[in-house]
Each structure stands twice: as structure tokens, then as C-alpha cells.
Symmetry: D2
Subunit: 317 residues, 4 copies
């Protein structure tokens, strides 16, 4: 596997320069201050073996990557039918913060849990009598997956909390249409705190691995969440995971993946999809490259992932 | 394999009653007259072995299933970059005949080749100096895949031609925005004739098999179209193939598939996705059940496909 | 003028039964409890002479009728250019609480001050360092026009405040786009308090008279606000005053008017428009009929106003 | 009146330089070749007296100004209820050639006769068994108003006919929704020929005068069309006549007016609205200035009309 380690390190350097075509998200001060040239990757296989390269010690916030974790947790907490009654699973082609469809498609059920509207609805459904309880449950769920403690970056949360007008508009609109399960400000607190959870590329790769493995944690040897929820989550990642570039990502890379404006990308390579790769029974991938494009995806990160998926023949189609 | 033959025949009868929840497409007389209770399936594996059940001798028109064939052919004729400059590959969440997005998302490039707007653009790009030449090229391409002659059902074409006002609106709008490669009426003639090509479930299964096989025809032992085009097509089928129920189809069935209002469904099971099925190296599936739901998908057909995909563990995610 | 008094009393009874075609606004408890069969009218001429009929002692809240008063006051406080930089004066054809256009027409400037989005922007511009100061200024302005004290109905305000999710969505969206002049919750407090100001038909007729008179108070013999602001306000009433039935109201009645979901309608008959009426130099009209149609206009009120405008030839066109 | 003649000639020269801020419509060759610096005005009073200034001999095509004439004629031919069942009278805030609302507001009835969609519907309703008969009826109606023969500029018609893709899209969409009264190509022929009718500023002023006069031709001493239709038409001109700048035109000028992309503006000053002007009992105004703004209105023409309306106190509000 040494050879592959060397390769992956070279690839990181090869694609690092693409960061110049993007910029760090500017509307959150804590993100704007990040070093745009950073690029890191971690790949973890079902046996726990890991390949890492680049700025792997860098910690960053989950942002929209958190949406897949809360979706899974809400399905565990409330059951799939309850969740799907409150959020659909259809892609939209709209920007992540769009509000138009809530009004134009009555009765205003959010189209999927990967756009902000749907994600806020999902956050409102998490178990817990207060925002703190909901977040604590989420942190515990993440810790079970990752095997170590994670926490909310309070500075990032505060910064997003005070500039969340667009998200507040979405949340109040959802409340008006009956698609929130708790008070608006509580749902927003949960949503913005989950976005501000700090993590590194190895953590993301581990989460990706468990999703790839249909909810089964290969090291703990436990089924953490139902196979059906895992499959549905991967379908959502393919149809809606990369904002309104999801179609192109599916067409040219072909992996279930979810990105965040922090420059994070989490990918889940199903057990049967990387037969010719160093991970013939699937793997999880975590990538971090804070310079994002106008759509919200890490520029260098997408290039790196595309190259790896092609080289290792990981396209699920 | 006898056992599976028996099973599949039983399943057809098990799901046939679901046809009652749908109706034959009413706006095309030739479709409206079909027997809504019919249901048929064919599955073909890479060695050419075939399982069939139900009303398999019934012939029907491709309708929107043709969109994947013309997309592949346009990519072969003009090259992928040329095609992608004129049609995007993003899902929309809108109905198949929606015109709104052409105006609301300037400069009006159609979002994907599976909605009518994008499909008409694709039809206009096919090689040929006249509609007849374009259609002849398409028929030849289909014949190479299927191994037998196919033809346009003139009655269905005439019937659609005279009621195609909504498609004409789309085509003239595309022309106004510069997204048609030939005169409007010619593009429409090609589009409506491709929709009226007559076929049976075995033919569809064969096309599905070749797409599943990344463009390689396992019986002819020829690469009919590039692997990249096949992968992209499968991605499009997952993100946009089942009209604005594509997300739910991906979430609960997890197969690249394309439906048509004739009640046709074509699915492509990639080589690595049915490891535990009777077709461990992939297969093509053709289904026909003319009673469709309000979105445009065969009701009994979707139920049947969902059951088979689950039983045989064919979900690609 | 006795004869006209008799006539107008008869007309009220003639059109009162139309209330059956509407319903009291249900989403505000205080409005839902109103007697739907009530109907009242007051007409005041420049010499202060008044004709009244029906349930004229009934007090009710201004609701959207307040939008014209705050618009005038904001123009006085900040000057027309300042106001028009933050709100346009174009009709939309959309419902009063629509949010779509804020996103679809960048940069998201509200289209006019008669829809909720624009009205909230206007409320945020009123002079005053706190919501209370802004409202106090508004009450003082109203008192100058009407000649007596008016106040906010706290019960109605509280009731609207706790169910204002849709308006909150609008306000947060406006804040995100930079179209609010004060914090969201302050703007909403002003907006919802102005909606809850209590008044009667004579008060409304008096305000209508001053607007009709181009801002000149005929009894105080003072120019209360600039002629240009009055003309602009009347234009706005014609193009946007009756929700998304404004076009039909202009077409068939032809008077500057503004309605509210409380069932209030205020009309301003310009000095030159009622030459053949009992008020040959213009007048103000106040109508109250709490049973409203699905668009938000008093059913009996609109019928009554249409009849009077036709009988007395008051159409401005 | 000599004094006013001099004034008006001076004003034309004063506002002529504003043409530099606009451009001749480029998409119709015959319009693109026009001299952008031309500016002309004609004002006609009920006694037939006329004031003219500028390039008054210039002939130009009616373009969208024709929409008010066909609306009136359709109301005469079919009766108001028939017409209003097929086209609403609500302003939209959208561009003149927008198609979005036909889909987003089911069942797709066009919002008003001043946008292209509604105007094409109106053209389809004109009496006559062929496009030529419909146009002949229209020409006869115009000749009765103007008192001289008018005709279609074939070059302009041909030029528009071959580039009318956007209008064809609208027409086919209307046909699909059931809002056309004759075949699509016939409706388009009528619509594009009416747009290509050639006229001069005096002709427009004469039409404006008759509309101002509630359908009564003061020289022929005949009621050419019902008063109610005239009032409705003036209301439509105020709410929708100046494209998506109608609101601002009403707010700052306050006259019923209709513009065309040829640079034509027709205004109707009602009998009671110009009490202090040289035309105390109303008048018609025709203006021509081919340099238009991005919305479609003559730049110099709007400035000139605004100045005159203010100077002569013609604002109807």
C-alpha cells in the first residue's frame, strides 16, 4: 500500500494549485481567515487501514456535510416515514439557500434534506427537548462513529448565528407552512451549531466509510443505523449532495458525496464500487480544501476526488 | 435459472393489480387505447440469457425512454463537449414539460436531456441533413444494439405531431435562446418520431444491458459507444430519469432507469451492482405497464422493479 | 343632500347580503370574531360635510390600509429619493405575502409598498429610535389628519405578533438583502402595530379626503404632505392597492383605493374626478365590511363602492 | 394657442438629447435603421385643434401600441365578458415577453392584454375567418378613427415574422392551455401585422383623443366604442401600458399611456384631467422617439411627456 500512499501524496500536490480558482467563504469571518491553499485527504478502508496526505492535521467545520448526519439521526430518532412526511427527497437544481420553491410548490414541503430549507426541518426533528439536548445527541452519535469527542466551534457558531438572516427567513417560512417540529430559533440554533462542529479529514473518512458500509461500523462491528437509511442517504448524496452541481458531479465523478462551504467533501464508496481500487470492498473519503467555487464546492477538492475516482475506477455507475 | 423464471412470472402477477392506481396516457389516442392491465418484463444478462414474463409480445412506443438513446448518439456524433455546451446535466425537480426554468435561469440552457426541453435540443444535434436522415441514423443505431429492425409508428407520430403545442412552445423558446441546432419544426419532427419508435421489453432490456456494460455490446463483442458516455448516461438516469420522482426512485430503488408515458421503463444494472442477483455481472431490464401515475411513470412497473431490485439486492448505492 | 343620504343608506342595505360570499379573516382571532354581516360607509367632502350609513360606529383595525399612511410618512421623514431607493413602485400580480420575487428579481428590492415585503421596508424607515417612537410618530400623524386620538389595539397586535411567521420570513429575507433600515424584530413590531391601529369609517374617509386633495387638509387649511407624494400614493393605490385584484378594481371601478383584511377600504376621489357626483370637487370614502374574499378584499364593500362610483360617475379614467 | 405651439417646439428640442441614453430596437432590422435622434409630438383636442412639433412627418410602426386598439376591437367584436374570460386585466411586473406566469399560475390565462401573451390571445379573438380578414377589420377600425387609410409595412412584418421565435413559444403555449381562438400561425400573423401597421404622431394623438373621450369621436360625432371599454382600456394603460415601468410611469406622470418598441407612445388625457392645460376638456397625445431604454420605452419620449404632463397639470391622480 506504500505505493498508493506515495501516489496520493503526489496527487494532493498536483491539484493543490487549483485552489487559486476559488475563494474561502467570505460571509463567515472564521472561514474567511482560513489558508486557501490548504488541501488534505484521508481514505479509510473497512479494515481500518488509512491513507492520508496533505494538511491532514487541519481542523475545520462540517457546515453542510452535517446535513447527512442529522438526516440519518432523524431517521433513527423518528423513523423514516415520519421524516419523509416532512421533507421530500427530490433534487431541485436551485441554490442551497433558495426559498422560491417553498412558495411555488404548495404546500411548501422542502424538496430534500440537502438544501438549507430541508436541513433546518431535519434539525427540528432531532430528539431532545432543547437545542442543547438535540446537539448533545448529535455529538454523541458522531462520537460513536468517529471514536473520539467532537465539539461545536463556538466562534463559528456565534458568527453564523448573527448573520443567519437568510436561514431565519427559510425557518420562519417553514414554520408558517407547518414544516418545523420545534420553535424557529431552536431549530436554527441546532442547525447552525451542527454546521459549526469541528472535525478533520480522517473523521470525515470514517463517517463516509460507515455510510459506504450501509450503516455497519466495521471496527465496532455494529450496525449503527439501518441499511435502508444508508442506501437512501447515498442516493441523496448523488442526487443532491454537491449543491446545484450535483448532476455534473454524478455525471463525471459518480460517487455519493456531500460538500460544505468550509471546503469539506465527504464521499462514500460502496463496497461493490471500487473493485479495482486499493479498497476493493469500499471505503470512506474525507477531503478538505477551503477555497470554494461560486456554487459552494471545494475547487481543488473536487479536482482531486475526480482524479482519484477515475484512477481507481470508483464510479458507481 | 428455471427457479428465477418462475419467481419473476409470479411477481408480474403479484404487481399487475397496481395498474388500477394509474391510467393510460390520455392525450395521445394511440396510447389511450392500450390495455391498462398489461404488464411485462424482460431481463437480459451479459451472456445473452434472458428471463421474460407477462405480456412480452406487446409492442409499445419508446416515448421518453428514447431520450437516453438520442443523448448517447448525439455524444457519439458531436462529441461530449459539444453536447454539454448545449444541454446541462443538472436535475430540476420540475415537471417534464416545464418551460419556466428556460426563462428564469439565463441564458436559458436546458438543465438536462431527460426533460423535454433538453431532449428536443439533443434531437436537433443528431447528425443528418434532414429529420429523416437524423431518424434513420437513430434507427440504425438502435438496430445495431437490438439486433433487429425497428421503426416509427406513424399513427402515434401523427397523433403527437398534431397535439404537440407544449413541445412546440419549448422548441421555439429554445430557438429564441440559441439552443437548437436545426430549424424548430425539424427538431420537433425528430423528437416526436423518436418518441414513436416501436419496441418490446426484450429490446429495452438489450439496450439497458449495453448501457449497464459501459457501452460494450456483450454479444457483438464491440464497444458501441464510449465508456464515459455510458457512465454519464447512467448518472443522468439516476438523477433525472424518472421525471420529478427521480429522487424517490433513487432513494428507494437505486437503479439507473428511464421511463416513458407509454408505460415503458428501461433499467441498467451495472456489472458490480447485482453481485447477489441471478445476474452477478449486471444486466438490462425492460418493463412495460401502460397505466401511469400523474408524474408519468408506470405504476405497476415501478412496483415490480422495486420488488426485484430489493429481492435481488441490485441497489447501486 | 338629504336625498343622497337616503340613497346611500339604501345602497348599504342593498349590498349587505353580498357579505355571505366572503368570510372574516380567520388567522387573526380578533378579526375572526367580527360580525360578517356588518357594512358601513362614510363619505366626506372638502367642506367637511359627511354622509354616513350602516354600522358606522363599528371600530376596526387598519391592517393593510395602514400601508399608504406609513408610505406617506416615510416620504415626509426621509424624502422621496431615499424611500424609492429602498422600495420600487411596480405592481406584481402576486399575492400580498409572496416572497418569490425577492429572490427571483435580484437584488431583491421589494416591488411596491402595498405588498407586505415593501410595507415592512417602509415601516423600518419611519423616524424614531425605537419601535415605540416610530409608532408614536405615526399615531401623531394620523391624529393630525383625523382630528382625534387613535391607538393600537393591543389584543390584535399580540395576536398577529405571535402568528407572524410569514411576515418574519419576509423581514429576515429583506434584512439579508439589505432592504431593512432597522433590526428585523423592530420593523415587525412597527409593521404589526400599524396594522392594529383602530379606526372607524369616518376616520378613513377623512384620510381619503386629504389624499384626494393632494395632501391639503381642507378643514385645517394646511398642506400636510407634498402634492407629489399624494399623487404618487394615489397612483400606487390604483396599480397595487387592492391586492392582486388591483387591475380589475381599476378596470371596473377606477378609483385610488386601498383595502385591508379587516374588511376596510379607503378610497380617494380626486378633485376633478367626481364632477357629476354630490362631491364635484372630490371626496374621501371609508368602507367597512369584514367578510372578505380569498384575495383579501371586502366582498360587500367592493360591490358597494363599485355601485357608488358608477352611479356618481367617479371613475378617474 | 400660438404661445403653446412655441413652447412645445422648444420642449421637443430640450428633451431630444435624452435619446442618447437609449438605442433603437436592434432585433428588427427595419427599426434598427431608424434615426435615434428623432423626436416628435402631436396633441389633438376635442375640437380637432392640433399642436405638433419635431419630426412629425416621420412614419413608424405601432408595435405594442397596437395592443390597445385590438383589445378595444375584440371587446366590440366579441363582447367584454367573452374577452375577459380569455385574458385577465392584472398587471404583472414581468417583462413583456415573459412566459413564466403562463405555467406558474394555472390554468395559464394571460394576465393582461398589454403583455405579448395576452395580446396574442386578443389578436386571435378578432372577427374574421382568416388572418387577412382580421387585419382588414382592424385597418378599417383604425381608418374610421384616424380618418385616413393605414397599412401594414410588409418589410417590418416579414422581418418580425422570421424572428418571432419567442412570440411563437408564447402562442403555442397559449394554444396548449386553450387560450387561443384560432390556429397559432394565424394568430401570430395577425399579431405581427398589427405591430407593423404604419402611422404618424398625429394619427396616434387622434386615437388617444377618442380613448380619452370615452370612445366618442368628437369630429365624427359618433360613439365608436362603448364608454365602459374606453374606461377599462385607460385603466389597463395606467396599470400595464408602459411595460414593467408602468408603475413608475403612473407614479411620476400619471397618464393612461401605451408604448411600443418602435419608440411610439400614445397617451389619453381624460376630459376632467387637464383642467388647467391648454386642453381643459382632455386630449390625445402621440409621441415618437425611436431610441428606447432596456425596458422598451422611448427615452426622450418619456422625458418629454413627463415634462408636459407636469407643466400642464395633466396627472389624473
Amino acid at each position: 500500500m506504500l505505493d498508493n500512499h506515495t501516489k496520493i501524496a503526489q496527487w494532493v500536490e498536483q491539484f493543490r494549485p487549483y485552489a487559486k480558482e476559488g475563494n474561502c467563504a467570505s460571509y463567515i469571518p472564521a472561514l474567511a481567515e482560513k489558508n486557501p491553499n490548504q488541501l488534505a485527504i484521508a481514505v479509510i478502508g473497512p479494515d481500518g487501514s488509512e491513507m492520508r496526505a496533505g494538511d491532514t492535521t487541519e481542523r475545520f467545520t462540517l457546515q453542510s456535510v452535517s446535513k447527512i448526519v442529522t438526516f440519518i439521526l432523524a431517521c433513527m430518532d423518528k423513523g423514516l416515514p415520519y421524516v419523509l412526511e416532512r421533507v421530500d427527497v427530490e433534487p431541485t437544481g436551485d441554490t442551497f439557500n433558495s426559498i422560491v420553491r417553498l412558495e411555488s410548490h404548495q404546500p411548501g414541503k422542502p424538496f430534500n434534506p440537502m438544501i438549507n430549507a430541508g436541513a433546518i426541518t431535519v434539525s427540528s426533528m432531532l430528539s431532545g427537548d432543547s437545542p442543547q439536548e438535540k446537539i448533545d445527541n448529535l455529538l454523541r452519535f458522531l462520537e460513536k462513529m468517529i471514536g473520539k469527542k467532537v465539539s461545536v466551534n463556538e466562534e463559528v457558531f456565534q458568527s453564523e448565528w448573527h448573520t443567519a438572516n437568510r436561514n431565519r427567513a427559510l425557518a420562519y417560512y417553514l414554520m408558517a407552512s407547518g414544516y418545523l417540529d420545534c420553535p424557529v430559533e431552536e431549530a436554527l440554533e441546532v442547525y447552525l451549531k451542527q454546521c459549526a462542529i469541528e472535525i478533520d479529514v480522517s473523521d470525515m473518512a470514517m463517517i463516509g466509510l460507515i455510510i459506504a458500509n450501509d450503516g455497519y461500523h466495521p471496527l465496532l462491528k455494529t450496525q449503527l443505523f439501518p441499511k435502508q437509511v444508508a442506501k437512501l442517504t447515498k442516493a441523496l448524496m448523488v442526487t443532491c449532495g454537491m449543491y446545484n452541481a450535483s448532476g455534473k458531479f454524478a455525471a463525471f465523478i459518480g460517487l455519493p458525496a456531500k460538500s460544505g462551504v468550509s471546503g469539506a467533501i465527504l464521499a462514500a464508496v460502496p463496497s461493490h464500487a471500487g473493485l479495482e481500487s486499493p479498497f476493493p470492498t469500499g471505503c470512506g473519503i474525507g477531503i478538505y480544501g477551503p477555497a470554494i467555487d461560486t456554487i459552494g464546492n471545494s475547487v481543488a477538492g473536487v479536482h482531486l476526488l475526480k482524479y482519484i475516482a477515475t484512477e481507481w475506477n470508483m464510479n458507481i455507475f
